[in-house]
């Protein structure tokens, strides 16, 4: 079933056109990898899916983003949308507060105040993000005392705590060491069961390891989109082949 349907997306930052007529469907409970060289628009497109580009001044978007058939840019509550479509960023960005408060921030935002409920949500989110064992004894400690890899998993837990339907990940492991990266990749395979995951990545091995579908972008255009196996073993487009074989990018 299609979770997201993108119809003829075009995007400008002031006068600079970043995305050129993108059409694609994103199926529920799959991992979709966005690949392509820097500046190809993959992060920009990702940030359209939860309307985080609204914060960028001079950003103009045309086309339709349908989430479960509804246009997310037409009269939708942005905050509700962002609850449904969570995001993990390139650099771990825990708030300078305790581990507990970091996770509880989202649920509290959406009106949960009961201590008992929050305790349960925090534990569940930390378990789902496979970081419970490392943090259960120091929930009151500052989140900034964690290592980079732990911080990123904490951010994943924070995103999961609001029970999103889609999880966007913007190069979530580019700032991490291989061990932490492996942990996050393992985690994503688990997450797929419950969530739809869209990940932008520079790391093509990562795309082949974890994703079901791969989309290749170049200069703001969607060049190739198909199952990861097909895209990486027999790409239809020459530019895509050049990129994945390492001839440029």
């Amino acid at each position: 079933m299609e979770k997201f349907q993108l119809e003829n997306i075009e995007l400008w930052y002031d006068d600079f056109k970043v995305l050129h007529g993108i059409n694609m469907d994103i199926v529920a409970n799959e991992i979709i990898a966005f690949i392509g060289p820097s500046g190809c628009g993959k992060s920009t497109l990702l940030k359209c899916l939860n309307r985080l580009n609204d914060l960028v001044e001079g950003c103009k978007i045309t086309g339709k983003f349908l989430l479960d058939g509804e246009d997310i840019y037409a009269n939708q509550d942005v905050n509700l949308l962002r609850k449904r479509v969570g995001m993990v960023f390139q650099k771990p960005n825990p708030f300078p507060a305790s581990i507990y408060d970091n996770i509880a921030f989202g649920p509290r935002t959406h009106g949960i105040t009961s201590r008992l409920k929050l305790d349960n949500i925090v534990e569940k989110a930390l378990r789902d993000a496979a970081i419970w064992d490392e943090t259960k004894d120091r929930l009151k400690k500052s989140a900034l005392s964690l290592s980079g890899g732990q911080q990123q998993r904490l951010c994943i837990a924070r995103a999961l705590a609001v029970e999103p339907e889609v999880l966007l990940m913007d190069e979530p492991s580019s700032a991490l060491d291989p061990v932490s990266t492996a942990k996050i990749e393992e985690l994503m395979a688990e997450l797929k069961k419950k969530y739809t995951v869209v990940i932008a990545t520079h790391n093509m091995q990562q795309a082949t390891r974890i994703s079901d579908k791969t989309a290749f972008f170049l200069l703001g255009e969607l060049i190739e989109y198909g199952t990861t196996e097909q895209v990486f073993s027999m790409p239809k487009d020459q530019r895509c082949e050049d990129y994945i074989t390492g001839r440029f990018g």
């Binding site: 939860n50 985080l52 914060l55 001044e57 905050n79 509700l80 949308l81 962002r82 609850k83 969570g86 995001m87 960023f89 650099k91 960005n93 825990p94 708030f95 300078p96 507060a97 305790s98 921030f105 989202g106 935002t109 959406h110 500052s142 900034l144 951010c155 924070r158 995103a159 609001v162």
Partner: protein, 298 residues
């Protein structure tokens, strides 16, 4: 160029050509020594001046630190500074109460709400910069004309506090603006990404993260209030008793000092007041440093 200098030095010292290397090494040693000594000397000089100043005040003031200086009522016999100390506390509290909320909210508006290239923002920036450069006596004159005469508050705590508020407002806006700006955008993105609105993001995530910097600005403002005389003499007056109402006149420690040393009868007591003022300022700084540390720890 350098080689020429080396040759010149060798020739002047009547040394043979083969000693070039020696001269070069000698020059470098001197250069290193000078470059190494300069920062030390500068630091020592700065510290020395401060030490001399504090020492001078202590030596002159401590002998006059008697119990009679801390009598609740001032009279010409005891030259008590306690009323001035209490007035100072009132003045600081009242000024901050008036200036911090608008200053902080202005900064929040400038950083979090205003769009880029907004005319109002440029206007506010220009105004704060201009206000920051005005000598305090001008504020005093304005306060005297506006609050004291025109509004008819007379020489009063309130008139003084309002005058000081206008004076410290630019400082508070600028420091708060800077500390809000230094909060990484990734925090804001993180909060927005979880579905938090602008207000919640600002008050629950950005403001706590900026709190130490904002507090540092407030401490600077306290320093200016405590040290101010010119703006107060014509607005709060120089009555040396504890003011009973906000509309009563009162003198802060700095004004008290100015009055005592101006009268020339109690120069020793003026120094003693300086000692107390010094202790107050050091106390505030220590306290705020501890506070900032606690906030930063979370």
């Amino acid at each position: 160029m350098r080689e020429n200098i080396i040759t010149d030095i060798r020739r002047a010292a009547l040394l043979p050509r083969r000693t070039d290397a020696f001269v070069r090494r000698f020059l470098r040693t001197i250069e290193d020594a000078v470059l190494c000594a300069a920062p030390w000397l500068a630091a020592f000089f700065t510290f020395g001046v401060l030490l001399f100043l504090v020492g001078y005040i202590l030596v002159n003031g401590i002998p006059y630190l008697q119990l009679s200086l801390f009598a609740l009522k001032y009279n010409t016999k005891n030259a008590s500074l306690l009323p001035a100390l209490i007035t100072t506390v009132f003045m600081v509290a009242l000024s901050l109460f008036i200036a911090v909320p608008p200053g902080l909210f202005t900064a929040i508006y400038l950083v979090e709400y205003a769009t880029r290239g907004n005319r109002l923002v440029q206007l506010v920036r220009m105004t704060t910069e201009t206000l920051a450069g005005i000598p305090s006596i001008v504020y005093g004159l304005f306060g005297a004309l506006f609050f004291v005469s025109w509004l008819g508050w007379g020489y009063s705590l309130l008139a003084g506090a309002f005058t000081l508020s206008i004076m410290i407002l630019p400082l508070i806006i600028r420091t708060a603006e800077e500390s809000l700006n230094s909060v990484p955008d990734t925090y804001r993105e993180g909060a927005f990404g979880l579905g938090a609105g602008r207000v919640r993001t600002v008050f629950r995530v950005v403001l706590p993260a900026a709190a130490p910097g904002i507090l540092a600005g407030v401490i600077l403002a306290v320093g200016r209030i405590v040290g101010e005389t010119a703006a107060l003499i014509y607005t709060a007056g120089t009555v040396a008793q504890v003011p009973r109402t906000p509309l009563a006149s009162g003198r802060t420690l700095a004004v008290h000092m100015y009055a005592l040393s101006g009268e020339g009868l109690y120069t020793g007591q003026a120094y003693a007041t300086a000692v107390v003022l010094l202790i107050v300022v050091i106390g505030i700084n220590t306290l705020s440093a501890a506070l900032v540390k606690r906030i930063e720890k979370g």
